[in-house]
């Protein structure tokens, strides 16, 4: 067996082991832990890049390594790395928990990596739970007066009910197709066109991933958790975790390709409601993270729009947008965590005068925000347009129209952020000092956001090659 096939997972398992040993140390050494974590995370990215073009099947075909999964593993490793980069000010997590923080972040990454490669229902379920439980633990790790545990408990119970529904759905799929392997399920699902069990089983099975992606009506956790969790944790939930969810959705929704409208109409409705609800409610938010949570709900709708086409173009769009979303959302969160160095919940107005307090962060923020809003030249714009294009190709005129109108609505609250950062008087808010590495990171992110937005071809081709194995 080629070790590289399982490379990223093994690497992160090893990393988890190291972090575990760190948790056992009696003495708390924050700086040292951080350096180790950073090195390990960078190594993770390297390994995932190294394994990018691996192909093969493992564990009796329960585990498929292909370009699709490897791209997402790279995204996850990248997301992990990025989150670690902003973890140098983990102020809201007690210092004695830092090693645990890294550990659980690693385990959730492992879970997600397995999730994107898993092609067997039980594997998917367990991997999902692995990634979720680590996050359930990470959320209430925050120092706080109770909103962290409140968020944690809400997250957990909504997750539990969602996965209950999902498990029920999976059981029906198992019953109807007699198999837990996607490759075997796929042809049998096509035979179930006449029976409601196929569509409904599948829809219920998607619940767990809708929950992860915070699609309506599984979105209720998002605002609370985004606000309640430590900034770094929120960042991870908002970036890497979404990418993993999109990946699994792409795999699972492909099962419904033969159901046509019957199946997709539900997704269309969920997409529309997610977008609209997310955008409308985001308008009235005052807490930055909470606003971003609603923005993520709206974005879930956009992802869903690409997914529900169940066609190559849409899948390419979704993959592209997932990668794009990871970068642009991270950019915004990075700014957030840099500004809120003490890890507090940032109100939007606290961004006031950011251009003056730190021009580089201001630049990153405005680009990240505009990318989220789908304003060119940015990956956000290109990705969104690719998704819209594919949806329109499938004839979802109204969906695209509503999506486009939603883009306008979303601009309203995004612009409020820009307004705060670029116009409002900083008052007595202190300047934000940015360390040199962070500065570099900023430049890199800016370059990525613009560069791949204007020159998307490489990514699109990669995505195209990747989704071939999924459909």
């Amino acid at each position: 067996m080629n070790v590289l096939l399982f490379g990223p997972e093994l690497y992160f398992l090893g990393a988890a082991l190291i972090f575990f040993s760190l948790t056992l140390k009696r003495k708390v050494q924050v700086k040292a832990d951080y350096r180790i974590a950073l090195a390990l995370a960078a190594g993770g990215v390297a390994v995932s890049v190294l394994c990018l073009f691996q192909q093969g099947e493992l564990f009796f075909k329960a585990y498929k390594v292909d370009l699709f999964s490897q791209i997402f593993k790279f995204a996850l490793a990248l997301g992990f790395f990025l989150v670690i980069t902003i973890s140098h000010n983990l102020a809201q997590i007690e210092e004695r928990y830092h090693a645990e923080f890294y550990l659980f972040l690693t385990t959730t990454t492992i879970g997600m990596m397995m999730l994107v490669s898993a092609v067997e229902l039980l594997t998917i379920y367990v991997a999902l739970e692995l990634s979720s439980y680590s996050l359930y633990i990470l959320v209430p790790l925050r120092r706080g007066d109770g909103i962290d545990v409140e968020a944690g408990i809400k997250y957990l119970f909504i997750g539990a009910v969602s996965s209950g529904f999902m498990l029920f759905g999976l059981s029906y799929i198992f019953g109807a197709t007699h198999s837990t392997y996607l490759t075997e399920i796929m042809p049998k699902m096509a035979q179930l066109v006449q029976s409601p069990i196929g569509v409904l089983g599948l829809l219920f099975s998607l619940a767990g991933f809708f929950f992860k992606l915070s699609v309506f009506p599984f979105h209720f956790w998002a605002p609370d958790v985004y606000q309640g969790a430590a900034n770094q944790v929120t960042t991870f939930i908002a970036t890497a975790s979404k990418a993993a969810a999109v990946a699994v959705l792409l795999r699972l929704v492909a099962l419904g390709s033969s159901y046509g409208y019957n199946f997709t109409q539900v997704l269309v409705m969920l997409s529309i409601i997610s977008m609209t609800l997310g955008n409308l409610v985001a308008i009235v938010q005052k807490d930055f993270k909470r606003m971003l949570a609603y923005s993520s709900i709206a974005h879930a709708g956009v992802f869903l729009m690409g997914v529900l086409t169940i066609k190559e173009a849409g899948y390419i769009g979704a993959v592209y947008y997932a990668l794009a979303y990871l970068v642009m959302n991270f950019t915004v969160f990075m700014v957030l965590s840099e500004v809120a160095k003490d890890g507090r919940d940032l109100k939007i107005v606290e961004l006031a005068g950011l251009w003056k307090r730190s021009p580089i962060l201001g630049l990153s923020l405005i680009l990240g925000i505009f990318a989220l809003a789908g304003v060119p030249p940015s990956i956000g714009f290109t990705g969104k347009l690719l998704i819209f294009t594919s949806a329109m190709n499938q004839g979802y005129f109204w969906l695209v129209l509503i999506g486009a109108v939603n883009g306008t609505i979303s601009l309203y609250y995004y612009l409020r952020v820009v307004y705060a950062a670029f116009f409002m008087d900083p008052g007595d808010l202190p300047p934000v000092t940015v360390s040199f590495p962070t500065r570099l990171l900023n430049y890199a992110l800016v370059a990525i956001i613009i560069g791949f937005g204007v020159f998307p071809d490489q990514i699109v081709r990669l995505a195209q090659a990747a989704v071939k194995t999924v459909l």
């Binding site: 119970f157 409904l200 609800l277 308008i283």
Partner: protein, 673 residues
């Protein structure tokens, strides 16, 4: 058409010299008064020479036409060209001469004005526009220069822009003439639709007009007449012309007597064949021009501002010309009478204004009663020349006006309905009366005039007031606070600017000012005897000329009757110095209020344009359109706030929502099966 064709070169120089002068002065030299003046003078002298050269040496029996492409779109083609035929060359001469004289005159009149350079730039612009208009070969080109004339007039009337009444008058002139021009333009568009080209020769060709549907001819002719009405100040949009006297007096002489207002009549002459093809159009022209004639004559009778008198006189004479032309059109006559009157009028009316200018310059007032009491008659040359001009205006032999009026009355006499003739004669009578009212007052000043004429009535005194500060039906909102500190009468004080040194140097009339007077007086004397040759020049042959003695007698008697009445009222020793009209106070007041035309327009503007449309649209814009947009925005935010209540703090409500949606979706999907 070689590039070195002297005629073409002449035409081009005519247009481009003033243009370059304007540009040069405006961009570079406007701060240097003398230099600007020199440039402008050079740029107007050369066209003058060219004009006279053409007039005497060029054989234009066959029209000389030059055409270049100015703009070639698809179906719209605007050529830039020159059409030299008798009609245009004669007008060319008139315009070039008068504008040259006025430029000379202005050296004296405007000397020392802070805007001297700009003044000459504007004059050059005007010369450009007017000359271009006169010799243009196509109607669209003509329209372009026509508009430029309007622009130049706007700039010149509002020359003393810091004076509210002047800037207001400029605006009024521009907008009112624009009002007519719109009609003109629409008419042109209609013609284009039919002809495809707006070449004057094409439009005037009888063969083509014969094939045109009559309604189209009538419509387009009438629409074009709108433009003429605007520019030639015909009723009911003549209101701008008297106000235009706010400009410097040479400008009044140039624009509002001799050239610009004549442009309208010139256009009528230019398109005479087209107009002649529609009897309806010509009848309308006749009616309008007659009304104009009577209206302005009656107002002229009661005006106390010397320029006002001549302004209304101009309006009435323009009406007279239009009458002549339309009568000729209706009775298969020629365009000669009207055009001839245009020519002579240009000379004597310019003279009148320039003379008045001397007085105004000297005494610093516009009120001829004041001038008279201050010894106006002591200025010999102006007094003599103004009398000559007034005689010509009244139509007394042997001055130019006599002959041209005769010709027009002759044309009117050819109409089947003699009413027009009678009205024309009545107009001549009134003309003589009001002209000599001024002359007698000036010549035989009384110790003291009825205060009524001097102070009590601001309307007669300062026309611009009537809408600026008069008790009009309503102020416009912007008028109301433009000049909160403006004192009535203050703006009227032209002397403060134009004749700034008038009081300081009470010397005689400088030669630059008297020279043009003498030249024009000479023309006034000569032109009458050129009737035959001019007619020959214009029409190719001199029509057999019957002298209708009955008409001659009645005309002359009307003129003398008018003069006599004026003598009785104003001139004779012991005259009451009250116009005969004041025996009918109602009528007098009506005339003093200028037939309430200004009131009407002001009311119209305030009520409809500002009051109804502008206000309604603005309200609509703020409330309905913009309000709608804002409402959409607010309702979006509002719905966001409403929707945010779904996210309750209670976990179980959220879960319930989720479960209900899921079950609902499930049941919905099952229903279909």
């Amino acid at each position: 058409m070689g590039s070195c064709d002297p005629v073409l070169l002449g035409c081009l120089l005519t247009v481009f010299l003033p243009l370059s002068a304007f540009a040069l002065i405006m961009i570079f030299t406007w701060r240097y008064h003398k230099l600007s003046m020199a440039i402008s003078l050079v740029a107007s002298t050369i066209p003058l020479l060219i004009a006279w050269y053409f007039f005497f040496t060029l054989d234009v029996k066959q029209p000389i036409i030059y055409n270049f492409n100015w703009l070639v779109s698809d179906q719209v083609k605007v050529p830039f060209g020159f059409l030299l035929d008798p009609t245009s060359v004669l007008m060319f001469v008139i315009v070039a001469t008068i504008s040259w004289l006025v430029q000379i005159y202005s050296i004296g009149y405007m000397g020392g004005d802070p805007g001297f350079g700009r003044y000459y730039a504007d004059l050059s612009l005007f010369a450009l526009a007017m000359l271009g208009l006169v010799i243009s070969s196509g109607l669209l080109q003509l329209y372009i220069f026509w508009e430029l004339v309007g622009l130049a007039s706007y700039l010149l009337i509002g020359f003393w822009y810091e004076k509210f009444s002047a800037s207001e008058a400029g605006k009024k002139a521009f907008v009112v003439t624009r009002f007519g021009d719109i009609g003109f333009f629409m008419g042109l568009v209609f013609l284009t639709l039919y002809f495809g080209s707006l070449d004057i020769a094409t439009v005037n060709s009888a063969a083509l007009t014969a094939k045109m549907p009559p309604w189209l001819i009538t419509t387009s002719a009438l629409l074009i007449f709108c433009g003429i009405m605007g520019k030639s100040a015909q009723f009911p949009i003549h209101v701008w012309l008297p106000d235009a006297m706010e400009g410097p007096t040479p400008v009044s002489a140039l624009l509002h007597s001799a050239t610009m207002v004549a442009a309208g009549v010139f256009l009528l002459t230019r398109l005479f064949p087209l107009f002649a093809a529609s009897a309806t159009a010509m009848s309308v022209v006749l009616v309008i021009s007659t009304i104009t004639l009577l209206l302005s004559s009656t107002i002229g009778m009661v005006a106390t501002d010397i320029k006002q008198v001549w302004a209304y006189s101009t309006v009435s004479q323009l009406g007279f010309m239009a009458m002549g032309l339309s009568a000729a059109g209706l009775a298969a006559g020629t365009l000669f009478p009207g055009y001839y009157h245009l020519t002579t009028h240009a000379a004597f009316k310019a003279l009148l204004f320039l003379c008045s200018g001397v007085f105004i310059h000297h005494f610093g007032t516009n009120d001829f009663f004041v001038m008279a009491t201050q010894g106006g008659r002591k200025l010999l040359i102006p007094m003599a020349t103004i009398t000559i001009a007034a005689l010509a205006l009244a139509g007394i032999f042997p001055f130019a006006g006599f002959f041209s009026k005769e010709a027009i009355l002759g044309a009117l006499a050819h109409l089947p309905n003699k009413m027009w003739l009678v009205l024309g004669l009545f107009g001549a009578f009134l003309t003589a009366y009001y002209a000599f009212r001024v002359i007698f007052v000036m010549l035989f000043p009384k110790e003291k005039y009825d205060k009524y004429h001097l102070e009590t009535d601001p309307h007669a005194h300062a026309p611009a007031h009537s809408h600026g500060h008069g008790p009009g039906p309503g102020f416009t909102h912007d008028d109301a606070h433009i000049h909160p500190d403006a004192k009535p009468g203050h703006e009227h004080d032209e002397s403060g600017h134009g004749a700034g040194h008038g009081h300081d140097e009470p010397h005689g009339v400088p030669w630059v000012m008297s020279f043009p007077l003498l030249v024009l007086a000479g023309f006034t004397l000569i032109l009458g005897f050129c009737q035959g040759s001019l007619e020959k020049y214009l029409l190719g042959e001199s029509a057999p000329h019957h002298i209708e003695y009955g008409l001659l007698v009645s005309a002359v008697s009307c003129a003398f009757g008018g003069i006599a009445l004026a003598w009785f009222d104003w001139g004779r020793r012991g005259a009451k110095c009250v116009g005969f009209i004041s025996y009918v106070p109602v009528l007098e007041n009506f005339f003093i209020q200028k037939w309430y035309m200004d009131h009407f327009w002001r009311w119209f503007l305030n009520t409809f344009i500002y009051g109804i449309f502008s206000r309604a649209f603005t309200y609509n814009d703020r409330r309905v359109v913009d309000g709608g947009v804002d409402a959409v925005a607010f309702s979006t935010v509002g719905s966001g706030r409403l929707l945010s209540f779904i996210q309750t703090a209670f976990l179980q409500y959220n879960l319930l929502f989720m479960v209900l949606v899921l079950a609902g979706v499930g049941i919905y999907l099952l229903m279909g099966r």
